[in-house]
Amino acid sequence: MAFRPEHEIHRRRFGRNLGVAVTLGLFILLVFALTVVKVTRGDPMQAFDHTVRPELAAPVEEGQ
């Protein structure tokens, strides 16, 4: 059985699907890159969660 020749509309649909796939892939990469930047810029990665965390307390200066 011979394959049906590809219609122009199938090519257009493939192009559309490919465009959406590439866009979503780039979006995922961007969100990942943003996450890496936000997390590694030195912002605190811990927060108060009802247990004592001395490392979160502000450092006491000499002489106080």
Binding site: I9, R12, G15, R16, G19, V20, L30, L34, V37
Partner: protein, 310 residues
């Protein structure tokens, strides 16, 4: 969808048609002005955050363009300039344009809030609302001042770029906003003078249609005169400097001369040379905006070498 139905729809949209919904030419101006707003701010921004911020500002602008195409499909269909747009040409259904516009608006605002800050996201949300609802749905068909007030939507991007970097609004951001806001009316009215049939056919109450062409010429001159102090005044803020001042003085002098030449012509003269002056002022107005923001950028780029700024 079955193949049989697919063959019955030769106008099925490709990916590029959805991109056209976002008005890529308008987006390019948004990207440029927002990027300048972000780069001239006195706060350095991480490149990834800067890239994401500009991308989401552009996406928000594109989303408002899609909402505009959904709402204006009827008048786009009768205007020569717009009838090949995806919705009036039948490639994309109006409902799809609405869905794309709403979805991208939400994504752009939320992501800008996460990437930059909440004030920038709020300003972007307001810009989309202003363009889609205040301008497209309300002003455009009801008042000849449509583009004066609607121009605010196009003026927000550099302010949002600035807010992405600094987290607050300052005089510099307001002046960049005011520069585009005051530039929009003479720019569009020059276009309306030589695209007169389009707006008339579509029933859009452009100034040329409601108040006549002489009044439009008067308005172009008055708004250009009002634009000059805004454009030149920005030279004396922290984002200005001698390069910007020189560029602003030359560009504004040229623009004023152009507006004056439009003002002193009448329709008979303009018809005789196919609106040559109006067309040249319209083209120049594009360079005018591009070069002002280019000069801001030049000042910021030279500042680390001790050359930019005062």
């Amino acid at each position: 969808m079955s193949d049989i139905r697919a063959y019955e729809q030769p106008g099925e949209a490709g990916f590029g048609d959805y991109v056209q919904l976002l008005k890529p030419r308008v987006m390019s101006l948004v990207v440029f002005t927002a990027l300048v707003g972000l780069l001239v701010a006195p706060v350095s921004v991480h490149p990834v955050i800067a890239f994401a911020s500009i991308l989401f500002i552009a996406l928000g602008a594109g989303a408002s363009g899609a909402l505009n195409m959904w709402w204006d499909a009827d008048i786009d269909a009768v205007m020569r300039r717009t009838k090949s747009r995806p919705v009036p040409s039948g490639k994309v259904e109006a409902g799809e344009a609405l869905a794309v516009g709403l979805a991208l608006s939400g994504i752009a605002v939320v992501m800008l809030g996460l990437a930059a800050n909440l004030l920038a996201a709020a300003l972007l949300a307001f810009t989309i609302f202003f363009y889609a609802v205040v301008y497209s749905m309300w002003l455009k068909r009801s008042t000849p001042q449509n583009i004066v007030i609607g121009g605010a939507a196009g003026a927000f991007p550099p302010m949002i770029g600035w807010v992405c970097a600094t987290g607050s609004i300052s005089i510099e951001a307001v002046l960049m906003f005011a520069l585009i806001f005051m530039w929009t009316p003479p720019h569009f009215w020059a276009l309306a003078l030589f695209m007169k049939e389009d707006y008339h056919t579509a029933g859009v109450p452009m100034l040329t249609v409601t108040h006549g062409r002489k009044s439009t010429r008067n308005h172009i001159l008055v708004y250009t005169i009002l634009l000059v102090p805004v454009a030149v005044g920005a030279a004396f803020t922290s984002i200005g400097g001698p390069i910007y001042l020189a560029a602003a003085v030359l560009l504004n002098a040229w623009f004023l001369i152009g507006a004056w030449r439009i003002w002193r012509r009448d329709e008979a003269v303009a018809e005789a040379d196919s609106y040559a002056v109006e067309k040249s002022v319209f083209r120049f107005s594009l360079y005018y905006l591009f070069l002002h923001f280019g000069a801001f950028l030049a000042e910021a780029a030279l500042r680390p070498f001790g050359l930019g700024g005062w």
